[in-house]
């Protein structure tokens, strides 16, 4: 596996929406390389004949009756909002970015 560069980490940080300083990017690149070096051992035994397990329980499509029940009021739902206006979440500009 190729070495993890600062540019690789910068790309990952952008995907994960975390701003990072150049010093943080350098530090993270070396740590990531160390951790990946330790965890790539999984490849030693993960042969093509083994089915993957994504979850300990084999449940799927768990449904319940569609019944209206009491839920949060508008005020409660907005109680932790960093900004609000007209009974809605107020967010920074979303459109118009590159």
């Amino acid at each position: 596996m190729a070495a993890i560069s600062r540019d690789d980490v910068a790309h990952l940080a952008k995907l994960a929406r975390i701003e990072m300083t150049p010093a943080e990017l350098d530090h993270m690149a070396s740590e990531l390389e160390q951790i990946l070096g330790a965890v790539k051992r999984v490849q030693e035994v993960a042969t093509s004949d083994i089915a993957p397990t994504s979850h300990p329980l084999s449940m799927s499509n768990v449904f319940r009756d569609d019944v209206v029940k009491p839920s949060l009021t508008n005020e409660e739902a907005l109680s932790g909002a960093p900004a609000k206006a007209d009974e809605r979440f107020k967010v920074p500009q979303i459109l118009g970015e590159e």
């Binding site: 999984v42 089915a51 993957p52 994504s54 979850h55 960093p82 500009q93």
Partner: protein
């Protein structure tokens, strides 16, 4: 005389007999917290008024002759990862500082309905990512046995609170060992129930296919009483198991292991484990044999890959789960000065609000899931998960329960591993396979290591939804150890009043 050193079961009996009121018992614990928590930092939030109000309500109900739950009026500490309506819930992170949830998690709702008095919220590694509480944004919790050492993590605050007699009971969560490891390092009992046995609704998600809520207490019976109070199906958690809760209280009282087959996992013994840890485990095995159990050796050859698989699966799921902290609906928002767009504000907020380990795991998870690397990392880790499950299936074909040490060493020094993530990850080597397979496990204190006088934990594991089995074995061994020692393990802990 009922006091903070009593068991929860004895507190419950004394309350039922009206020998003590819940108000008195709650005040005793709040006083204890006020006098010792400055030294151990187990609590992030202490709800004095709320606890006393709850205690008073229980006392009134009892006075009026109302039928109450077994633990009604007994105090508890709750890990700060479970939402409690109106009470600060941070998950140990700056990004949630000041957030007061508008609703209760199912576990908190069950505790309230059972009349269990919630004293406050306990410290933890940020978003449960860590094994020492050193990753908390609000300072490290100290181990009551030695204030220079960590209590383990991530549920270190809950474990320390119980070990320091600040609460007889506590709630934790366990994704890779976060209940069992701190229980082992502080000399108390901790249980990670079968995955799906306890609702995750209202629990801040770290790695959803691994996270499980569970109980801490100072005795096996107390742990079982709390287990039964919080377990059960919940339609608000789609991964909740819809089946009766195993009879863990009955199992804890059984005190008999005659004819049970106990499997010792070959790969989780010997080199790599501190001598004093291995000695206490060997002694426990002798006591179990004397109690009529049969010991068989089992082999789990793929466990050596479990740690590596865990540190791909958990960060991958975390990178997705933590995307919700986007500064839009709750929590911190940084840099919203009108000139920046949502994406910039989001990135600035996550930079400011997340700690080092959380960023590390988000970036690692983002990498493991990115195209071109998915099969090599996340895909391979999922295959290892299959192999670990197969190892358990084979082992449980030969044994009713499996045992191992909980941790390779006793409690380590604060700062000892904080700059070396891979060394820190190794402290979960024996606990992670249990989460990977979704089975349940208990950490039982089995004595002190000769070389450092610190507690050692034995891990007892059982197949899915057979949690009663480790309560049966744990209760039996606890009784044998108590008759050998003459007094509970925590009576050997140094007095917090004289520790500096």
């Amino acid at each position: 005389m009922t006091n903070i050193h009593s068991t929860a079961a004895d507190m419950a009996s004394a309350l039922a007999a009206k020998e003590i009121s819940s108000i008195e018992l709650t005040k005793q614990h709040l006083d204890r917290i006020a006098s010792v928590d400055g030294k151990i930092n187990a609590f992030l939030h202490i709800d004095n008024a709320g606890a006393l109000e709850q205690a008073e309500a229980i006392d009134k109900k009892r006075a009026s002759g109302e039928k109450l739950s077994p633990l009604a009026g007994v105090p508890i500490a709750v890990k700060d990862i479970l939402a409690q309506k109106g009470i600060p819930t941070t998950a140990g992170s700056k990004i949630l500082e000041g957030w007061r949830p508008p609703y209760d998690s199912t576990v908190v709702a069950k505790l309230k309905a059972a009349g269990v008095v919630i004293l406050g919220k306990t410290n933890m590694d940020e978003f449960a990512m860590g094994s020492s509480t050193e990753n908390s944004a609000y300072g490290t919790t100290q181990n009551p046995w030695d204030l220079t050492r960590t209590p383990g993590g991530s549920s270190g605050g809950s474990a320390a609170a119980v070990a320091a007699f600040e609460a007889p009971l506590a709630i934790g969560t366990d994704t890779g060992g976060s209940i069992r490891q701190p229980a082992a390092l502080t000399g108390i009992v901790g249980v990670k129930p079968t995955y799906g046995a306890v609702s995750r609704y209202g629990v801040v998600a770290y790695s959803s296919s691994l996270d499980q809520v569970g109980p801490f207490a100072r005795t096996v019976l107390d742990t079982a009483l709390l287990h039964e109070a919080i377990a059960g199906h919940d339609e608000r958690d789609s991964t909740s198991i819809n089946a009766p809760v195993p009879q863990v209280v009955t199992a804890a009282k059984r005190l008999d292991v005659k004819g049970m087959k106990i499997g010792v996992i070959k790969e989780l013994s010997g080199s790599g484990f501190q001598a004093g840890v291995s000695a206490r485990i060997a002694e426990s095995i002798e006591l179990l044999v004397a109690a009529g159990a049969e010991i068989v050796e089992v082999s789990c050859p793929n466990f050596e890959y479990a740690l590596a698989a865990y540190y791909l699966i958990a960060p991958s799921e975390a990178s997705s789960n933590l995307a919700r902290f986007d500064s839009m609906r709750y929590g911190l928002r940084v840099g919203d000065d009108g000139s920046r767009g949502a994406e910039e504000v989001m990135s600035a907020t996550r930079e400011a609000g997340f700690g080092k380990e959380v960023k590390r795991r988000i970036i690692l998870g983002t990498y493991a899931l990115s195209s071109g690397y998915y099969d090599a990392y996340y895909g391979s880790a999922q295959k290892v998960r299959t192999l670990v499950k197969q190892d358990f299936d084979n082992a449980f074909a030969k044994a009713d329960v499996l045992i191992s040490p909980v941790t390779p060493t006793t409690a380590f020094k604060i700062g000892e591993k904080s700059d070396d993530p891979v060394a820190m990850y190794l402290s979960d080597i024996a606990t992670i396979p249990v989460n990977m397979a979704g089975i349940g496990g208990m950490s039982l204190p089995v004595g002190l290591a000769d070389e450092d006088g610190l507690p050692v934990g034995l891990q007892i594991m059982a197949p899915v939804m057979q949690d009663d089995r480790f309560y049966r074995v744990g209760g039996t061994l606890e009784a044998a150890l108590l008759s050998k020692w003459g007094q509970p393990i925590l009576s050997k802990a140094p007095d917090l009043a004289v520790q500096k």
